[in-house]
């Protein structure tokens, strides 16, 4: 008799496919939040599997801060073409131009928090009732308590103390007009699981994840890439280093690490030996102990 059990990656895959199909069955107008980072690429890949041989039956949505890595935008456009699905773009620049939000000031100013308004506006104007994200519970302590189906009130806010219990595999996505849900199909994956799966499935990811030469500056314990948005301090100096990125966010806040890992095998090997969390290089999480929880409550990804 052959083995009748799944290995851990197959079980995680099956669980994510189940969640994605539940979203499609329970909501009228879902989207995948697509950032061009590996987690949203993974969710998109899993959605392809969930609905095969049909194509993904809902759009991808990108909240564009305007502070992108050019590679990410190219990658996004390619994947949209390949899947034949619609792309919705919410533009932070437009939110600024319309006076909905104001740019942060100061040395470490970012557009990270501004995304919340743009995201919620895009959800409202496109009548989206479920935004599927690539958030994982192992990423950050506030995320450890996140549900697969996570309710947002009509202001887009998360109330972590008043979440719907999720038992077995029964998910309750019922909501009133104006409210929406966030769904997290890869809640139970760790960074290592993501890399092992990307390697196994040979999923295409942006070149930024692989070691490459880049102009960078040392800031807040990581290598921040040079870009048109970078304002140098007096003591700072631009150098060229062989680096890669563990996560992708805005070009202004995503720090790289020095690395020679230029294949998926080498990346997986490198990640397994890592002693810092992947978000350790994200200055948006370093602002305070509850930085993520505070942003999530307001409606962040």
């Amino acid at each position: 008799m052959s083995k009748y059990y799944l290995n851990y990656l197959d079980e995680l895959e099956s669980e994510a496919i189940f969640i994605l199909r539940e979203v499609w069955a329970q909501f009228d107008n879902p989207v995948i939040l697509f950032s061009g980072g590996k987690d949203s690429i993974l969710v998109t890949h899993l959605a392809k599997k969930a609905f095969y041989p049909a194509k993904i039956p809902f759009p991808l949505m990108h909240v564009d801060t305007g502070h992108n890595f050019p590679e990410t935008i190219q990658f996004r456009d390619d994947i949209i073409k390949d899947l034949g699905v619609e792309l919705i773009v919410g533009s932070v620049q437009e939110s600024i131009d319309e006076g909905r939000v104001a740019e942060e000031r100061g040395k470490n100013a970012t557009r990270n928090a501004l995304q919340i308004t743009t995201l919620l506006d895009a959800i409202e104007s496109n009548k989206i009732d479920c935004a599927i994200g690539g958030g994982r519970r192992d990423e950050e302590k506030a995320r450890a308590k996140e549900r697969f189906f996570s309710h947002r009130d009509d202001f887009g806010q998360w109330d972590p103390k008043n979440q719907r219990p999720e038992l077995w595999n029964i998910f309750n996505g019922r909501h009133f007009e104006g409210e929406h849900f966030r769904a997290f199909p890869i809640s139970n994956w760790t960074e290592m699981d993501v890399w092992n799966y990307i390697k196994r499935e040979n999923i295409a990811i942006p070149s930024l994840y692989f070691a490459h030469e880049r102009e960078v500056v040392w800031r807040q314990d990581s290598w921040i890439p040079n870009s048109e948005f970078l304002v140098l301090e007096d003591h700072e100096e631009i150098v060229t280093k062989k680096i890669r990125f563990r996560t992708l966010g805005d070009i202004t806040i995503t720090g790289g690490i020095e690395s020679d890992a230029d294949t998926l095998e080498k990346i997986a090997e490198e990640v397994s030996g890592m002693r810092q969390t992947e978000r350790g290089n994200r200055s948006d999480d370093k602002r305070s102990e509850s930085a993520m929880e505070d942003r999530k409550r307001q409606g962040y990804f």
């Binding site: 290995n7 851990y8 197959d10 969930a50 049909a54 450890a144 038992l167 029964i170 810092q276 509850s290």
Partner: protein
């Protein structure tokens, strides 16, 4: 990790003093799953609070309110991996007012860790946690007799706890109970074998979790396939394709199997079992696949495909062991929406047969109000039949939730024919 490594989900329940957080911190720390920046953050907090050394318990504090109050309120999920398995911990609070969180954490667990303080032995909380593990039919229970360092690593103290536990647990339905003497604080028998307890011949906790046999816990007999959605690509390569998408709840389905669609009762034969990667000859739990049938039958979400020679019962009157999850108490004879697999119907609680006093485990037939954290045997009537198995045989087709239509909240969860 090897290709055949499995995923094991376990739950822990505990309150501030019994060392639960320390145990989890220890498992994560000794299996090298805590990263340097996380450790640094804990070190800083430990110093601020004036603790000596690193307080591993701080690692499991999540939300700001919990950090401020120093307690776990909700279920938090933790992850760690060893060369043998991937683990998901459902870390739940242990006090009686968080029974619903314990039930939630227990619902998906392969195993439960129950912590007993070696100094105090089996207490009310131990009984309650064991009862929940038994109620939710967690297949494996590991009783960790903790704080052995505070009883001089005494075998006698350990045996006393075992005897106490076995005395009360004989009434419960747990198939596999194991005992391990540990010190979460010092690390004895957690990841590494204790050097202080030569008299203990068994394996340390982590080794037990890594090697415990779990693949036979899945029901492989009763083939059940609840349909989530129908896939109709209508593209050039799959013009007439009509696939029923779902996850196998239990049993094994094979191409060529004669199947019945519930509740309509139509029969057909499985034509193909498809995934993006390849078409399969068979699918088993918990695989997500798309199934096509030889005949064109009307099937939609909420239907269930089963093997014709082994069908679930279609019932409108069901007995359920219910855990009330919500602040709003149950309204007498009020209607709720009931969810069972992908099926949703209306339902009414016709009768509360008895409530269980979860401190004494006695049945209470006098007070029948259902309030938050109550566990009660109830009779439910649904508007249309549900295709059910008993929870003991099949967790997926034997479980339900109730939703309040006025608030959309999940108010109760139940186990059928308990």
């Amino acid at each position: 990790m090897l290709d055949n490594n499995q995923l094991l989900r376990f739950t822990t329940a505990g309150s501030v003093d019994d060392g639960k957080s320390t145990l989890i911190g220890r498992l994560l720390y000794d299996s090298k799953s805590i990263f340097e920046d996380q450790l640094e953050a804990i070190e800083n907090t430990s110093k601020k609070k004036g603790h000596e050394g690193v307080d591993l318990a701080l690692f499991t504090d999540g939300l700001r309110d919990e950090r401020e109050q120093g307690i776990t309120i909700d279920v938090a999920y933790r992850y760690f991996t060893t060369p043998k398995r991937k683990f998901i911990i459902a870390d739940t609070p242990g006090h009686i007012q968080y029974t619903r969180n314990m039930v939630t954490g227990a619902s998906t667990a392969n195993a439960a860790i129950i912590l007993v303080d070696a100094r105090h032995g089996v207490i009310e909380q131990t009984r309650r946690h064991s009862f929940i593990a038994s109620l939710l039919q967690i297949p494996h229970v590991i009783v960790c007799v903790n704080k052995m360092d505070l009883v001089d690593f005494s075998e006698e103290a350990y045996n006393k706890v075992i005897n106490q536990f076995e005395e009360f647990s004989s009434k419960m339905l747990v198939r596999d109970v194991r005992f391990i003497p540990i010190s979460a604080l010092l690390g004895d028998n957690v990841v590494n074998r204790s050097e202080n307890m030569d008299w203990y011949q068994g394996a340390p906790l982590l080794h037990t979790l890594e090697t415990m046999h779990i693949s036979s816990d899945i029901n492989k007999v009763d083939a059940r396939f609840p349909v989530q959605t129908v896939l109709r690509p209508q593209n050039d390569t799959h013009r007439d394709y009509r696939g029923y998408a779902g996850r196998v709840a239990s049993g094994i389905l094979r191409v060529g199997d004669e199947v019945t669609v519930m509740p309509s009762g139509f029969t057909s034969v499985i034509k193909s079992i498809d995934t993006l990667d390849k078409s399969l000859n068979e699918a088993y739990a918990p695989m997500s696949v798309s199934i096509t049938l030889e005949d064109d039958i009307d099937i939609s979400r909420g239907d269930m495909i089963v093997r014709s020679n082994n069908k679930p019962e279609a019932l409108q009157d069901i007995e359920v062991m219910l855990c009330w999850l919500h602040n709003d108490s149950a309204k007498p004879r009020a209607k709720y929406s009931i969810r069972h697999t992908s099926n949703e119907q209306k339902a009414m609680i016709k009768e509360v047969v008895y409530k269980i006093n979860i401190e004494t485990l006695d049945r209470n037939t006098e007070n029948k109000d259902l309030r938050m954290n109550d566990i009660a045997k109830v009779k439910i009537r649904t508007t249309k039949p549900l295709m059910i198995d008993s929870y003991r045989d099949n967790k997926t087709t034997g479980s339900i939730i109730l939703i309040d239509d006025a608030t959309n909240e999940t108010v109760a969860a139940g186990m059928i024919k308990y």
